[in-house]
Amino acid sequence: MICETVMFDGHGGDPIEGYAARSLDAAPRGGVVVIHHMPGYDRGTKEITRRFGAEGYNAVCPNLYWREAPGAAPDDAAAAARAAGGVPDERLVGDVKGAMAYLNGLPNSNGTTATIGFCSGGRQSWLANGSLPLTAAIVCYGAFIIGDTPEGLPPRPSLGHLAASMSGPLLGLWGNDDTFPPPADVDTLEQLLKDAGKAYEFHRYDGAGHAFFAVDRASYRPEAAVDGWEKVLTFLAAQLGS
């Protein structure tokens, strides 16, 4: 496995940076696009990317804030991107499309690609799977996929309608103590996928709230996180064939 910083074309043909963890073995394998959370292209997200590399996948995490802050520290870049209004949905789709092209262009690609995203990245993983020809997608406690944003927060476009256009099967991992998204929203998302006849797999964890995968946060719930990782790897093995 090699871990390196790479450049590829994102939305609108803009060159953007990505953090790649990929196999040097020639045997064909699937690719994983890791969508970072709002705090940015940080150490934790790169660690997740390396884990997929260590599991035998080709993985890349696009730096969604490259345009606002090329080369800056991840926390400074996140602050600059926030001040600039955040990442528009259309740009996210274009950047994930570029990351998919990077993965599919690797000599040992088997042509399959999945996304995974946490928190805001979970919403964006849903968005990508409803907009791009992905093989599969994983959503970890994505907030504001549907429903009204609370008073005082800038409204995010509801993405419920994308349930009907999901490209690949979707794995959703949720904490029952989460308030964004609340369990009722998870129920609605499940119903939308069911009504659309889409393949999905949801797992909900008692005693876990938002960000239960985050190992360096007080929100970390080892039992949910360990089980969640098993679900993620089992799902990817079935969908990506490696």
Binding site: H37, A72, A79, G86, A218
Partner: protein, 89 residues
Amino acid sequence: MCTYQTELLEVVGSGKGPQQWMRFTDASVYVDHPVHAMAGHTLNIDLRDPAQGPSARVAIELHPQAARALAEAIIRSLASVPPEVLAEH
């Protein structure tokens, strides 16, 4: 959750980062996940000079009670001096 909500304002002043003093022209204020503080959400303040690039920033992450106490202390301090002192600026 990632709140997306951000208060943006122009500011005049200076602060000291790890290297040196710097002028601030802009501030972002928001509640969201911290980078360093051990809490689910904190009140975060970025004091910035965007003209000098994204790294020209002093960042603060405060627990909500601490943020309120600080805000109240700021207001009390400003109210405790004669108005003519503040009018100098």
